[in-house]
């Protein structure tokens, strides 16, 4: 994206905004779906993200990367969404078979997974999103930090707290991973 185009976008040029939208809608959607796990919600939040981007265009500095800014707005929106809706419904809610986990009985394995999922869903939205991006999606800490608007150490701290809470919650449920 040329800086001049970004400059035009900040001035409210709708064509420049469309160019940006076409270039980044896939990236923003891909980021949001990793957090919310629902394609319909991810589409709605992608549009909402760009709506907020458009409204905040005057505050955007064309010298800074647009993608990172968009991702931060998208993350905040996804967090708001998860905070509103405590229970997260994954696209594929049935746990994947896990060969070699040491639990041969599929029924026991499914029970363990459902307890893990329940414990994970109980985490506060901020911890859940950080843990999901770091532990499930395995995104780099620097990228997560940028999207959440916190430091890399902040990400590490949230992951640590999420693990501690998860472990406590699982112990209460009789699971010791």
């Amino acid at each position: 994206m040329v800086e001049a185009e970004l400059e035009r976008f900040t001035l409210g040029d709708i064509q420049a905004f469309e160019t940006l939208f076409q270039e980044y809608q896939g990236e923003v959607y891909g980021w949001i779906i990793r957090i919310v796990h629902d394609s319909g919600t991810a589409e709605d939040l992608t549009i909402e993200t760009f709506w907020r981007i458009y409204r905040a265009r005057a505050r955007f500095d064309p010298c800074r990367p647009f993608g990172a800014w968009a991702r931060r707005i998208a993350t905040n929106l996804a967090l708001e969404h998860l905070s509103r809706r405590r229970r997260e419904r994954p696209l594929d809610s049935s746990p994947i078979g896990a060969p070699g986990t040491g639990t041969p009985d599929p029924a026991i394995r499914a029970d363990v997974y459902s307890k893990v999922l329940a414990a994970f869903d109980e985490l506060p939205a901020k911890l859940r999103v950080t843990a999901r991006l770091a532990m499930i999606e395995e995104r780099p800490y620097a990228e997560i930090a940028d999207a959440l608007g916190i430091s890399t150490n902040g990400v590490k701290s949230r992951v640590f707290r999420a693990i501690r809470r998860l472990r406590k919650s699982l112990e209460k449920r009789g699971v010791r991973p």
Partner: protein, 72 residues
Amino acid sequence: MNEQDEALKQVLQRAAPGPTDCELKRDLWPEMRQRLDRPPVQISWGDWALAAALLLCLLLFPESIPAVLYLL
């Protein structure tokens, strides 16, 4: 991450797998365009006048507040 954390991570990845498809399947621009073209919500002068009158009433007759709250 220590070994125990790594084990928890593995279990978590199996229990709550990420979406298998993160690709956007369609162009969202038409919906974005609709959103941009939607006229902003405008509050008419009549509504402002009504709100001001109600506020004035509540200030002058505070005993009416419970009745107004009940009606709301």
